[in-house]
């Protein structure tokens, strides 16, 4: 698999060179950064789907609210531009990510408790409709209570070009990519190596059997929602810091794309979701590099349909996508 990833990256870079010429490297890094955001969101989709087989339509809105938490925190603290003092910068970043991730994690748990858990044994249509409802509630709460237009998030990370060997990369891109990889690695270790992670895996495989073996199903599912939503909250902060803007309806498109990423990677599979996120990032940036940027959504959606038709288990999916 590492070889396959390297080959794909090389092909992507080649396409960037064809499309963007001298800006190839910049666009390549841009794609990685956007892909990291989608990957972080996709992880939440795939974890929730893996464990309770629900498409959590509200997940994209969690990402959106996370970006608003970041906006609120930074503007309340009085920041308006880059923070030059590295110590202060790190402190503020840690604070922003902690606050947003914990807040969104708690929001995710509350949503699960109030809206999804009572319907766990209901016909499948019911929780799906509830999820759509929750998504609209979150989106419109922000719309009516906070802002009905684009808000500007202070871009606190200074933006010099850093030279690493032949690669020149902006600080923010480096930060986002590294952060995403660290979070993914931490998630992977958590799921594979800890007791709680094992509980999550066993619940995903067979909820009843896991319960018989002493796993507390409710708290395990709540934990899954907490982690997934916290990752979306982190993605929201990244959105704010990287793009410097957010708006109440940003979660819808982002959610759709991240879900595509999750399906692309094989739903229920966290590694797959991460890879899928980066693939979507590349599809989107390549579309704009080749001058068809306004069709990027159509391209992503077409990808989704093609994957569902020809390989519904995704790139890595071991799980059967259409098990009854």
């Amino acid at each position: 698999m590492p070889l396959a990833i390297l080959i794909s990256l090389a092909v992507a870079y080649g396409l960037m060179v064809i499309g963007a010429g001298p800006q190839a490297q910049e666009q390549f890094i841009n794609a990685l950064t956007i892909g990291a955001i989608y990957a972080l969101i996709a992880l939440g989709y795939t974890m929730v789907y893996g464990i309770i087989e629900l498409i959590n339509f509200a997940h994209g809105e969690i990402f959106m609210v996370g970006s608003f938490v970041c906006w609120w925190l930074l503007t309340t603290l009085g920041f308006s531009g880059a923070i030059q003092d590295p110590v202060l910068l790190i402190e503020v970043l840690v604070l922003a990510f902690t606050v947003s991730m914990v807040t969104m994690g708690v929001v995710g748990v509350i949503i699960e408790r109030l809206a999804y858990r009572p319907l766990r044994n209901a016909p499948r249509l019911a929780p799906l409709i509830t999820a759509i409802g929750v998504s609209f509630i979150l989106q419109n709460l922000v719309f009516v209570m906070i802002s009905n237009s684009i808000v500007t998030v202070p871009q606190i990370i200074p933006n010099p070009l850093i030279q690493i060997g032949p690669i020149s990369i902006r600080e923010i891109n480096l930060f986002v990519i590294v952060l995403a990889l660290v979070l993914m690695a931490a998630l992977h270790l958590f799921i594979q190596r800890t007791r709680l992670g094992r509980a999550m895996r066993s619940t995903a495989i067979d909820r009843d059997a896991a319960q018989i073996m002493g796993v507390n199903i409710n708290s395990t599912i709540a934990l899954t929602f907490f982690i997934g939503s916290a990752l979306a909250g982190a993605a929201g902060v990244v959105q704010g810091l990287y793009f410097g803007v957010t708006v109440f309806n940003i979660g819808f498109q982002a959610g759709l794309k991240a879900f595509t990423a999750a399906v692309l990677g094989g739903i229920g599979n966290t590694t797959g979701a991460a890879i899928g996120g980066f693939v979507i990032g590349f599809i989107e940036v390549l579309a704009s590099v080749f001058g068809v940027g306004r069709w990027s959504e159509a391209a992503v959606f077409t990808t989704l349909v093609l994957v569902l038709i020809f390989r519904p288990t995704g790139i890595l999916g071991q799980q059967l996508a259409d098990r009854a």
């Binding site: 629900l54 608003f68 016909p123 249509l125 799906l128 609209f136 498109q253 069709w295």
Partner: protein, 394 residues
């Protein structure tokens, strides 16, 4: 069912023996009553009768959308979140056939059927590859489709005139009936009567379908796909028919909508339209034709009249401004129309939790939704397990 069949006397008996006649009778009564309501206080203070009739004609579009979506969601149990796409396709079909943009001027009435057919074809095109997948994937694919169709109408500006849309769409003409042609911007009555006629035909057809072999196949499919398949139901064809019949109803609504507004633009067909139709179906009662129609009419009037009146009422009260961190609450300045989708969202969640069968439930659907599956009871069977209000914290 035995209790139901024993009550075949009286009104119920008549309505089940003369279904189409009763539908026509009910529609005639409602058609006459609705404009009369607008003359009674307090409703008469909200606008002129013409405003009301125009509003009812616009509401009729959503009644049609809800009826069509009900076939997909209520009858067949498939979640279609991109329903507005078929509405858009119907509307653009008529826009192409009768506007200066293409120079064509095909009359409205045949285009109703053509619009429905074109939408149905797109329903099949979208459904054929995706209906093999399980329901959740269908939801997300239709969601994507609903997003993409307006984007296509927006971006393919050479063929669709982009953001500005297609204007100057011909209004219907009454085929010279009675020697007059009353359709115009100032007179809502012909539109009102036209949409009522369309709805009547659709409702009669839907009732026939519901009781047909296909309608029963939909129910079987919804309740247990595996069992339905093993009883010889072709699940793909059955789902495709639900999907395309639902789409064709949206196509009808689209043609009427384009003719009434005389303008189509991509932003009229966003996700909020699909979402509104879904809220109407869920609130009205999935699977219940009358319930869905009533739900659509009530919701449409609440959103177009109720919220406006509530706003002007609250503005009269002097409520102090409250600030909580980033959130400012100024009840006096609230534009209640902005709360429309928040309320729909709340309504969807609350309905699903408390009354999943809707306000006007179909009998079968209520039984189905209140059923507790036996398989996941590891603890002692609890007769209230399906009832969320009984679930304690743990």
């Amino acid at each position: 069912m035995s209790a139901a069949t024993s009550r075949l006397g009286g009104v119920r008996g008549f309505s089940s023996r003369h279904q189409s006649t009763s539908i026509v009778l009910v529609v005639i009564v409602v058609t006459i009553l609705l404009p009369i309501i607008s003359l009674i206080p307090p409703f008469s203070g909200f606008g002129t009768q013409k405003d009301f009739v125009g509003g009812f004609a616009a509401a009729g579009v959503f009644v049609l959308l809800a009826l069509g979506l009900n076939v997909v969601v209520g009858f067949a149990g498939l979640l279609d979140l991109g329903y507005a796409a078929f509405f858009a396709i119907g509307a653009y079909t008529y826009a192409y056939s009768a506007s200066g943009f293409t120079g064509l001027s095909i009359p409205f009435w045949p285009m109703l059927l053509v619009g429905a057919l074109v939408a149905a074809v797109f329903g099949v095109l979208l459904g054929a590859p995706t209906l093999r997948l399980r329901g959740d994937y269908l939801a997300i694919v239709t969601l994507g489709f609903g997003e993409i169709v307006p984007v296509v109408f927006l971006n393919a500006d050479k063929y669709t005139n982009g953001t500005n849309g297609i204007t100057g769409i011909a209004q219907p003409n009454a085929l010279g009936l009675f020697g007059i042609n009353g359709f115009g911007f100032t007179n809502p009555w012909p539109y009102y009567l036209t949409i009522v006629a369309i709805i009547t035909v659709v409702v009669i057809l839907l009732y026939r379908l519901q009781d047909s072999r296909l309608g029963r196949a939909w129910v079987a499919l919804r309740e247990d796909e595996l069992a339905a398949a093993s009883m010889g139901i072709n699940t793909i064809t059955t789902k495709l028919l639900a999907f395309s019949i639902g789409a064709s109803t949206a196509g009808l609504a689209g043609v009427f909508y384009a003719a009434k507004l005389s303008t189509v633009t991509p932003d009229q067909f966003g996700f909020t339209v699909s979402f509104t139709a879904l809220a109407m179906v869920v609130l009205g009662g999935m699977g219940n034709i009358w319930g869905v129609a009533a739900g659509a009419l009530i919701i449409y009037e609440l959103q177009s009249q109720g919220l406006k009146q509530l706003g002007s009422f609250v503005q009269g009260l002097n409520v102090p401004v409250v600030a909580l961190g980033p959130i400012t609450i100024n009840i006096g300045a609230i534009n209640f129309l902005n709360y429309q989708y928040l309320l729909y969202g709340l309504a969807l969640v609350i309905m699903m939790l408390v009354r999943p069968e809707g306000l006007f439930p179909s009998r079968r659907r209520r039984r189905e939704l209140h059923e507790t599956p036996a398989e996941d009871e590891l603890t002692a069977p609890d007769p209230t397990a399906g009832d969320p209000s009984q679930e304690g914290g743990d």
